[in-house]
Subunit: 406 residues, 2 copies
């Protein structure tokens, strides 16, 4: 065999591609339908004025030899690494230095690539349901055994549902890599300080490494929810943290992210900070200069006020979706500190059946929970990333549809 | 072991980091020295006006909800895939369809990532000297055995020097992946049609896959040099081709590339086109929309004339460097169809000794050939990516220095 046979073991359709395909088919058959998209987590608000201004200014710099920027540092420009260290960490009393912050082109790439630092025999645990990229990137590397139609034989699943209040239990058997995400994609739930302390203690005791995804941290509205795993003492010896400008500042089409790899994080005598620097220096050539300037503008006075207004706008949508579902008698989580609302499908329907019903009878696109893992079966995700008007209209349609399905 | 131990086997310093460090040290000690940089292959001309205009227009689209672009297709927008299929392939009579073209964020990422499609036991061959990313990305994956201080035990080196006229011989023992690059980085030499036919025939016979890097194709000035491996009949069953806007259009800081994976390319019953689509869909979220619009502008009437003028400017520098070295009695290759000139160091000096002499006695930064592989020992690379004035000044300094070293 010359090819990587692990590719062939991964279930064919990537969740969002299948959703897109079903929507495409429906719209082709119903060209006049007013389909409302509350599915994929893509933002809808345009870039904030301060970000647009920063982009134009940076583009102009690229037009003149004296200010032209070619290859940048692979780990990112110091101006942005420092802005993130101060704006995301110093601001919450957490000590992260600029050379622990690496600029990437998106949390999808970073969270897919970070597994390269680890042995192919490292045991992996994910919460279930989970962002599919953590699983598929490890599957492609050959770390997960074989797929039995529902589960990977070599992957530890940590179920999260209303049975345990969406609080994953510690693994029963030892694991070495643990992916956690708070606020969670897809469930919209958050991890409390006590819960995080438990995980950090587990990792410190066992030598496991936590990969902590904070892509949605901008949606946290109160200090009782940790915004970074490094708020927990000792986490800088056990955790890598992944952040993103995609949802915070509407960068889904602009592409910028960061990864914190603390210098205190060492395993088997090696510095993971040095390993990630090596990985990025060898296999990546940096995020575009103009994009890094745009990200820097997120921390300006005008920029931060503008992006906060957008986050607030989406949070209002999220609250409306959750309250609509609850009024219809469903048990929903998320929708606070998060743009996602997660719930069991009405009437015991399975995820794809509810997807089809929602699309065909209410012209709403959501995301089938089963696409996020076996415990997601029978669940569903709706997203707040749409206009207030479309969300209002969707809420009305949901309020009409759900009682007919229960 | 929880970590990927292959990282620790790779020689510590990445070539260009070591060069940067020595230059930094020299400049700190000699703050008034007028150092001329002919080392790293970074462009110096600003972005062309048509590209700047396209960027501003695309940024403005991102400022309004109705034209805002969020997540794009992971494989790239159709407008750019079509522009490349027509502009790079249709234009030279080669049939490549848009869905065989994938947009990336740089040839460094693409050429580092492409090895993921292949088995960890696949045998790899590289020309020597070679662009270090091909080697290091395979070493990190664990495909190359151990490093003995000079060579990887599991890697097939195909030496290229004046002894064989820079034409690599076919591998003596079977290999499965072959990295070729024309115009070559670092030697600046090109592969003829006959030579490429030999390689395509070899791959067709043995089932090997050729990874063909055309990052420098814009520097080719005559039709006698192939611009794409697909000019050779049957290559679409054996080769992946990697292209870049970095050197063509000054995108080193803007980041855009393309990879062609023909639909006819199949191995072990699998379509490599489908595998690459899967890889990119799972681990990448697309090149920024504004950057893809900028790349599209390279194919406009104004854009193509402007970027051609920049390429011509660098080619004039390259010719001057080569003729200066030849006038000083050195045997130089490259510098035509290429921004790079490659030569044996004068007086039998080794690469780093010549690097230091050039820096300390002529204040010129070049790249030590040994950094590109064992056959690069005693060789050196100079690049045309500087202003005409700086190149002229460098030529005068070289003409004075070299006779003192022979």
């Amino acid at each position: 065999m010359i090819i990587n046979t692990h590719f062939g073991e991964i279930p064919q359709s990537y969740l969002f591609s299948e959703v897109a395909e079903r929507v495409r088919r429906y719209e082709a058959q119903h060209p006049d339908a007013a389909v409302l998209r509350l599915g994929i987590g893509d933002v809808t608000r345009p870039l904030a004025p301060a970000i647009i201004d920063a982009l134009h200014a940076a583009v102009d710099e690229q037009a003149t030899a004296s200010s032209f920027q070619g290859y940048g540092p692979e780990a990112g420009y110091a101006f942005l690494r420092e802005a993130i260290a101060a704006g995301e960490y110093g601001s919450i009393g957490v000590d992260v230095s600029a050379d622990e912050v690496f600029i990437g082109d998106g949390s999808k790439s970073d969270s897919a690539n970070v597994q390269e630092l680890f042995s192919l025999s490292a045991k992996v645990a994910v919460t279930d349901p989970v962002y599919p990229v953590y699983v598929d990137s490890n599957a492609m590397a050959g770390r997960l055994g074989t797929f039995d139609g529902e589960r990977w034989t070599g992957l530890t699943y940590l179920p999260c549902d209303d049975g345990n209040g969406y609080r994953p239990a510690l693994p029963a058997a030892p694991v070495e890599l643990i992916y956690l995400c708070s606020p969670n994609n897809p469930t919209g739930t958050t991890m409390s300080r006590t819960e995080l302390e438990t995980w950090v203690a587990y990792a410190r005791e066992t030598g496991a490494v936590i990969l902590f995804d904070v892509a949605y941290r901008a949606f946290i509205t109160g200090d009782e929810v940790p915004r970074s795993i490094y708020e927990i003492p000792g986490a800088d010896e056990v955790a890598i943290e992944l952040g993103s400008f995609s949802k915070t500042a509407g960068f889904t089409g602009l592409r910028c992210s960061w990864t914190v790899v603390p210098k205190k994080l060492r395993r088997d005598g090696a510095s993971l900070n040095a390993m990630w620097l090596r990985r990025q220096s060898t296999k990546f050539n940096g995020t575009p200069y103009i994009v890094q300037r745009a990200a820097e503008a997120v921390y300006s006075a005008a920029g931060s006020a503008q992006v906060q207004a957008d986050v607030d706008y989406y949070l209002a949508n999220a609250r409306l979706i959750r309250s609509t579902l609850e009024a219809a008698g469903l048990n929903a989580v998320g929708g606070e500190h998060s743009p996602y609302v997660w719930f069991r499908c009405p009437g015991g329907m399975d995820s794809w059946a509810f997807f089809d019903a929602l699309l065909e009878r209410a012209q709403i696109v959501g995301t089938p929970g089963v696409g996020f893992g076996p415990t997601g079966a029978g669940h569903f995700r709706l997203s707040a990333f749409n206009t207030a008007e479309a969300t209002q209209e969707a809420a009305e349609r949901l309020a009409r549809l759900i009682p007919t399905l229960v």
